[in-house]
Amino acid sequence: MVRSKAAWRYDRRVIVLSLIYAVFLLAAVWLFKHHMVTGAAAWVIAILPALPICGIFAAMGFYLVEETDEYVRVLMVRQTLWASGFALSIATVWGFLESFELVGHTASYWVSVLWFGGLGLGALANRLTLRRAA
């Protein structure tokens, strides 16, 4: 399948943001491990790794706006709906389990990881449902 210009731009943005994420994460972990940041700086450094991840969500939004092929856009919207439903459902179930002290605490950034995993699930759902409809 030939990828559209919008898809290439999305790929490029995601790659750049992923590299920035890796740098920010490594730097933040190193700085905190060596107790080199305190006060307001600690807040800024702690938030830095989250920003490229937020950027990836924005990149997805830009892609949906910039993609001119309406069918491909519909497929991606379906994928993101699957991803959102998957991530939010697991987060909700986990939240209740945690509230009743049946499971331990988990950092909320795992919701993002679930969402990215959900994109794969959405791609699989697209493939299965559209093949059945053909």
Partner: protein, 67 residues
Amino acid sequence: MKNRLKVLRAERDWSQGDLAERLGVSRQSVNAIETGRYDPSLPLAFRIAELFDLPIEAIFASPSAEA
């Protein structure tokens, strides 16, 4: 939605890729429309109709007429 896209394309000896290029969409989109898996938006349906120089209803069957 049923349509005559495949027939019209074959009459002109166009591949799905040829039609996709003329419409400015992906081959995947043409395939999805041809097989009835995806109903195009009104602007795309108009582009298809203009390309074949036919009214929309000569290409796409009305869902109410199908019922």
